[in-house]
Amino acid sequence: MIQFERVSKRYPNGREALTHVSFHLASGEMAFLTGRSGAGKSTVLKLVALLERPTRGTVTVNGKSTGSLKARHIPAFRRQIGVVFQDHKLLVDRPVFDNVALPLVVAGAPLKEVDKRVRAALDQVGLLGKERMLPAELSVGEQQRVGIARAVVSKPPLIIADEPTGNLDPDLALEVMRLFRRFSDVGVTVLVATHDQHLVHELAKREIVLASGEIQDDGADSLPHVVATR
């Protein structure tokens, strides 16, 4: 589903965020992307969501190389990826329903379908009944779950999340991570960037460790750390 081949990324300001990064995430697999702040976690996710293009090397997502994708094909490309942000990027002046419905609306789904799937997605994250509320009326944890509902509402084959539990207390954080694991259980590929080692161990999934823009531990061949530590 995600294939990085000797990918380097240098930002216009000259900072080299990634150096020769290669890894492969199979379809239906779930992995954590860990490392200190500035290790390059966010850059990896940006390259996957095509918010950035690689300076060198190739990034292939769902069979498509992002380096050569034409601008007019980017919207369709992004529709197959559900993205969750630490600051959830909700539209503050729109109710929960509209926020979650956005990916379906831009894809041109029929209204009946939109209604059905938004409710299903809100049900999955435990927010059914709060469709008409504004994001500001929700707790931080609920806002984060609205962001997750928006990421999964169009049933994308790939979900990526950047520090989705950064603002949450440990219990809520674990709950959110279990949500991701449930999506993974039904065949969705999930890549979560986090620095929360506790959660990584708790979930018992593959861990890709980045350090100073390089892969320190690919985590692909070895068994998940959790098995060894438990």
Binding site: R72, R79, V83
Partner: protein, 307 residues
């Protein structure tokens, strides 16, 4: 994408744009006022010219001259002169209005009957009313015709009745051209006003645009509500311009009717024609859409999602 989904998306975008405008009534009203005035001004100028043409229409097209004979020329000689004139090529009609008939006519139409009665004798001369053929109505033709009549010893004065009409028509032509220039300049103004308003709207909704693009919204999808906003500004401005024009006609009409009656005319102001309204709405919508498109094209491109 099915046709109904396509239609639904457009209706949604249109309603969304309408809702946004309605939620900011003051800002929307000010923008509409600027656009409405910009559209109304050239249309008003055009309306003035059209009405002036209708008001003078009865004799605006026909070119004719009055040949005043000296008093004391015998009627038989005057008849002979009229016959000679008729025989000349380039003349369509030459009608003799003898002094007696002229007096009757004058008494009937001028309203100075009482004043005429006070005069000891008929002050009017015999008049030859000459209408040249349309093919011989150029300024040079008229001048040679005038000289021809002036050369007769029986002729006192030759008056080109229509000279003022020609001048008036020339003034109207200038005004009409002025209306075109005003329309072009003010149209550019509308383009700029709509473009700038849309630019501010885009900047205001930057976060929303970023998120929309992030979840796979195409440029066309992001642009659509702004184009509809521009279109609505154009329609609203055209409606306002129409109201302004009709109101101006309504206010002016009584005094124009009074003025026309003083000239013995039943003329009344005419409101904007279908063509003018068509131009108003077509121009307003076209400019609104174009202004929005230019602005959206320039500014939406630069807004890309950042994580």
């Amino acid at each position: 994408m099915s046709l109904s989904v396509f239609g639904t998306r457009h209706v949604q975008a249109l309603l969304g744009s309408f809702g946004r405008l309605a939620r900011n009534p003051l800002a929307t009203a000010l923008t509409l006022l600027v656009i409405g005035l910009a559209l109304a001004l050239p249309a008003a100028l055009d309306l003035f010219v059209s009405n002036a043409q209708v008001a003078t229409g009865g004799f605006g097209q026909a070119v004719d001259m009055s040949v005043y004979l000296k008093t004391g020329v015998p009627l038989a000689q005057a008849r002979q002169l009229a016959a000679d004139a008729r025989a000349r090529p380039g003349i369509a009609r030459a009608t003799l209005i003898p002094a007696q008939e002229g007096l009757k006519e004058f008494r009937k139409y001028s309203g100075f009957g009482a004043a005429l009665d006070a005069l000891p004798s008929n002050p009017l001369p015999d008049v030859l009313h000459v209408v040249p053929r349309a093919s011989a109505s150029s300024a040079a033709d008229l001048e040679s015709l005038r000289r021809y009549f002036t050369a007769w010893p029986e002729v006192d004065v030759v008056q080109l009745d229509t000279q003022w009409v020609l001048r008036f028509n020339a003034i109207l032509a200038v005004l009409r051209r002025l209306a075109v220039i005003a329309a072009a300049l003010l149209g550019a103004g509308v383009l700029a006003v709509v473009g700038n308003t849309i630019r501010l709207e885009i900047l205001n909704r930057r976060a929303e645009i970023e998120v929309t693009k992030l979840v796979g919204g195409s440029n066309a999808f992001v642009r659509r509500p702004f184009l509809y906003t521009g279109l609505l500004y154009g329609v609203g401005g055209a409606v306002l311009a129409w109201v302004i024009l009709e109101a101006a006609v309504l206010i002016l009409d009584p005094s124009v009717i009074t003025l026309a009656q003083l000239y013995g005319s039943r003329f009344a102001l005419q409101g904007p024609s279908r063509q003018v309204l068509g131009a108003l709405f077509g121009g307003g919508m076209g400019l609104g859409w174009a202004g929005a498109w230019i602005s959206a094209h320039r500014h939406l491109r630069s807004i890309e999602p950042r994580a």
